[in-house]
Amino acid sequence: MRGDGPLVAWIGMIGMATNLSLVLWNSTFSLSFLVSTIHPLPLILVFHLSLLQTAQGHRPPKAMPSPRVPHHHDPLVRTSQTLLLDSQIRDWVVLPLLVIMICAGLLRSAVGRLLRPSPKPIPNVDARAKSALVRVSRLRSGAGGYLSSGRWEARRLAWSAREGGGSGSSSVNNNAGWLRLEANRAEAEKKLQDAMLKENNGGGDSIDPMTNPLLPGMDPSTMMDGMKGNMAAMVQNMVMMQGISHFFRGFVLVKVPFPLTRGFKQMFQRGLYDLTTLDTSYVSSVSWYFLVMFGLRAFFRLAMGDPLQEEAEGNEMQRELGRDYGSPPGAQFDAAKVLRAEADNLELINVRSRKFKVDEAEKNLLGKRYPKKKKVKGSGEDVLFGLTSGKNKTSASSKHKKRD
């Protein structure tokens, strides 16, 4: 068992070398970045403190490779003092395991990146539809409040006006709003594509989205590729767990700093069945494996960035359609339908309830000093702007003078 130490370390180093060569070949990861993210201060602290300990002679003699249980013959008495473990365990097990798992994680992400399919380009029509939707959403959101109400209304009409305002002869009326025009265009494109496909298929059978290369639909092959990455991770986890429990069996690895109940003994102290008085805090290698596996996730997020997010920002234009994980399978992006729905929504917005900051700018500026409009009974009053009719002209003009 003790001779396996160097072997494992060599395996780990070979694994690290292959992993590094793989990622360098991909040239998406730089080692200097990884090194720079490891903060030197805790390492310096640890180094000095461990030096201090050796100076004070706390180390156990090398002749005792395994921790000795103090000589209590009463099985109910637990070891309450801190055991000092051999430093060879640290050198050949704890740290190499950490390094191996870091490399395994890097390998896993590189393999996942290789296995992921290249994103297909989305057709022009849908790209235009999506960009139109983004612009409309900006009008709807609070940013629209920075326009004056007249201009906002004008924009809304430009987007969503219905057809048939002027001439009714042609099917595509140029007075219609942009969204509706785009919807018509998308429908025409789709009909064209369908016609082309019908010609290619050479018959009148229905279009099968699975076998058709032109129509982008939900391919089962892309779903498989997504699962392949997950499978790789799971397989790797299981293989490593088996390997570790085979190689590193039968000795105490680390002590977890928090107390555990006796029930956990069986899980965490595999291979140490005879040490019934040993504190549950002293764990064997499998639990160290689990600790490292969960703990290194955050570390990888720091060191490598979030690959999904980088890809999302880089490949936006080329993201294939079927990749939206939230939508049910088989749902395609129907440009015409979505655009028309958006146009209808836009029409339905109640303009009275929105606040237009330009219109209220004077109120906001003057605050309490904003002169209130006089309530005048009778006709001749402009409801919107509070101006009064010719009867009270002098007061209105004096108000204007005060404001200026």
Partner: protein
């Protein structure tokens, strides 16, 4: 670099900017800025988890004292994020409530805290 279409998806054609709930008080919301803010806060918090693990391990805290140390440091980092970077104005930077902001990512940071706590405790006191 900032792609204006970075937040469109099929299910909500209006994108995350659509906040029609509160009439008359709509938010002006930039999704890419929000996401980059979140990414940075995530980075800071995970780094803090690792560093607090190292601190707890080196100081030899065990059991409840270590957990308390972790929570205290987590809160301290979030509060200093709030005070120095957001100028005590949470709502213009994030959509969550104060409590959700202070306890965000607690579990993720706790896992890495546990790992580095065990590692450094073992390195310093056991080996």
């Amino acid at each position: 670099m900032i792609d204006p279409m970075a937040d469109i998806d099929h299910s909500s054609p209006a994108g995350p900017d659509n906040m029609d709930g509160a009439d008359g008080n709509l938010e002006v919301f930039d999704a890419s800025a929000y996401r980059s803010n979140l990414a940075k806060m995530d980075k800071i918090r995970s780094f803090m988890g690792i560093a607090s693990g190292c601190v707890a391990g080196v100081c030899g805290l065990t059991g409840l004292a270590g957990l308390v140390c972790f929570i205290v440091l987590h809160m301290a980092v979030n509060l200093s994020l709030l005070a120095f970077k957001m100028n005590l104005d949470l709502h213009s930077y994030s959509r969550e409530s104060m409590f959700a902001f202070l306890t965000a990512d607690l579990q993720k940071c706790a896992m890495s805290f546990m790992l580095f706590w065990t590692l450094f405790y073992g390195l310093v006191y056991l080996f």
